[in-house]
């Protein structure tokens, strides 16, 4: 049996008295490629923040690598949705990738040769080797997104969490990023928050819908249904606030 990487049981999250997630149960096994889809406000990013230990659940059980979220920092790579940073920050692309190594270092340690190599290797994987000395603020949207993926990969994570990595890039770059994830999925567990319900069904193993019924009603053709559903739901996934438990 494959090892369980993430386990949520009856997870509920309230932010400022508003229930964002409720009664959510699912698990992710080692090697899974899971997409979390759903409308804005459906709790996708909140769920990711819970898994990262940035948001405390108000009820239920969450375990990541068998421990409370936030306890397995060296094993998780995180790619945020968009990074608001100073475009003039004096930092090279390589320095940003190098930051992905920080979880593996103790406070007094400085980055060493092995860290440099891991950062360069991560930049090579995402195809940014040629730009590694460029200022991070000089990158285009798609390049920046790949640099953030490189930062996550530099720590050689076993679990990669991505929050809408294709939200701010053009369609061609989207394909590049999905090809990259397709390539990575053989080496690590991936959980992806996305709006690309159509594209994503070609790549991912499972889809977790948060409050999906709205999406299904509004735009059935783009939902993870139809012929893709067979691959998408190899086993049941608990759906939140659903009238129909299965979009098929």
């Amino acid at each position: 049996m494959k090892r369980e990487v993430i386990r949520c049981e009856m997870l509920g999250v309230e932010i400022g008295g508003v229930s964002v997630l409720k009664g959510l149960s699912f698990s992710v096994a080692e090697g899974d490629f899971l997409a979390i889809v759903g409308p804005n406000g459906g709790g996708k990013t909140t769920l990711l923040r819970v898994l990262l230990g940035l948001q405390k659940p108000s009820e239920g059980v969450v375990q990541v690598f068998g421990a409370a979220p936030g306890r397995a920092v060296g094993r998780i790579g995180y790619v945020p949705q968009r990074l608001f940073f100073d475009r003039e920050f004096p930092l090279s692309v390589r320095d940003v990738a190098l930051m992905g190594r920080i979880a593996l270092k103790t406070p007094f340690q400085h980055y060493g040769k092995a860290d440099m190599q891991a950062a360069d290797e991560a930049l090579r994987i995402v195809g940014l080797s040629a730009l590694s000395n460029r200022r991070i603020g000089a990158l285009s949207g798609g390049e920046l997104q790949r640099a953030l993926i490189a930062r996550a990969l530099a720590g050689k994570p076993q679990l990669l969490l991505l929050d809408e990595p294709t939200a701010s890039v053009d369609p061609e770059m989207k394909t590049t990023i999905y090809d990259l994830l397709d390539h990575l999925k053989s080496t690590m567990t991936i959980v992806l928050v996305t709006h690309d319900t159509g594209t994503v069904s070609r790549f991912v193993g499972r889809v977790l819908c948060l409050n999906c019924s709205m999406v299904l009603r509004e735009n059935p053709s783009a939902s993870p249904g139809g012929e893709a559903a067979q691959q998408v739901y190899p086993y049941p996934v608990d759906l939140l606030l659903h009238e129909s438990r299965n979009p098929r």
Binding site: L52, G53, L54, G70, V73, G74, I76, Y78, P80, L83, F85, D86, E88, F89, P90, L91, S92, D95, V96, M99, G100, I102, A103, K105, P107, F108, Q109, H110, Y111, R135, R151, G155
Partner: protein
């Protein structure tokens, strides 16, 4: 002007300028990239309470500033992080209350408060040998801590959320950074004064950022620029018989305007 160095107060002023510039370059760079100039201003103004405390207790006011500015740094940091007080509200409250406490304490102190003006607006020519030693020790402390925790401070400045999920104790490091800002304020009080400190914490680093590709390079350049402004301002104030702290700040401000006007002009030419 070799004859000038015959005066001890000139020698002290030059050394103080150089020492202060090191702290200014390092900490100012963090202040600029992390965009915490307003917090730094708040810490500096709150420190006026410490000046009042120093007068009241009859000790060197700088020794009053150290605990006061450190307390202000931690209190503003904790209030805005933990107590859900908007950061600018916390800063504004401390800014005014710190100064009010200073005024009350100075009022309670019997007699006239000498040199009060120099603590508000700086007078680098009044730096004593004891002040120099304190500045040097604080400098070493600041340089050592920022070197030890350079990767944490960099991660905190660039992407705090990522630092947090990577296991960096971001609140702790943020408070430490604010404390280092407080100590830099102590150093700069002699040079520029409580009210003008903020300019030296931001202008040299803001100019350096334009020409630097690494944070370390930015710190080095900011240090050089800060030394240039302090020494240049000192010399100008001597020549023109002006207040030294204010002259330093005005010189820095003019350089800042020129660099940014130059940049705007260049991008205007490129756009044509």
């Amino acid at each position: 002007m070799p004859d000038l160095f015959a005066y001890e107060f000139i020698r002290n002023a030059v050394l103080a300028s150089l020492f202060a510039s090191v702290a200014c370059g390092i900490i100012g760079s963090y202040v600029v990239v992390k965009k915490i100039g307003f917090i730094s201003g708040g810490i500096a103004h709150t420190a006026f309470g410490g000046i009042g405390l120093g007068y009241y207790l009859g000790i060197n006011p700088l020794f009053g500033v150290i605990p006061f500015s450190l307390a202000a740094a931690i209190a503003i940091g904790l209030l805005s992080r933990k107590a859900k007080v908007a950061e600018d509200t916390a800063i504004g409250a401390f800014w005014a209350v710190g100064m009010a406490v200073g005024v009350i304490l100075i009022g309670l102190t019997p007699g006239y408060a000498p040199n009060l003006f120099s603590y508000l607006f700086g007078n680098i020519l009044t730096v004593s040998v004891a002040d120099l030693w304190m500045i040097a020790v604080l400098d070493i402390l600041i340089a050592a801590l920022t070197w030890l925790f350079s990767k944490e401070f960099l991660a905190l400045s660039f992407d705090e959320e990522y630092a947090e999920v990577s296991g960096v104790k971001t609140t702790r490091f943020y408070l430490l950074l604010l404390c280092l800002i407080a100590l830099t304020v102590v150093i700069l009080v002699r040079v520029a004064g409580i009210v003008l400190v903020i300019a030296l914490l931001t202008i040299p680093a803001a100019i350096a950022r334009v020409f630097s590709s690494t944070l370390r390079g930015m710190m080095g350049l900011a240090t050089v620029l800060s030394a240039f402004f302090c020494l240049g301002g000192l010399w100008l104030s001597w020549q023109l018989d002006l207040a030294s702290g204010a002259t330093i700040i005005v010189l820095a401000g003019i350089a800042f305007l020129l660099v940014h006007a130059g940049r705007a002009f260049i991008s205007f030419l490129k756009a044509r």
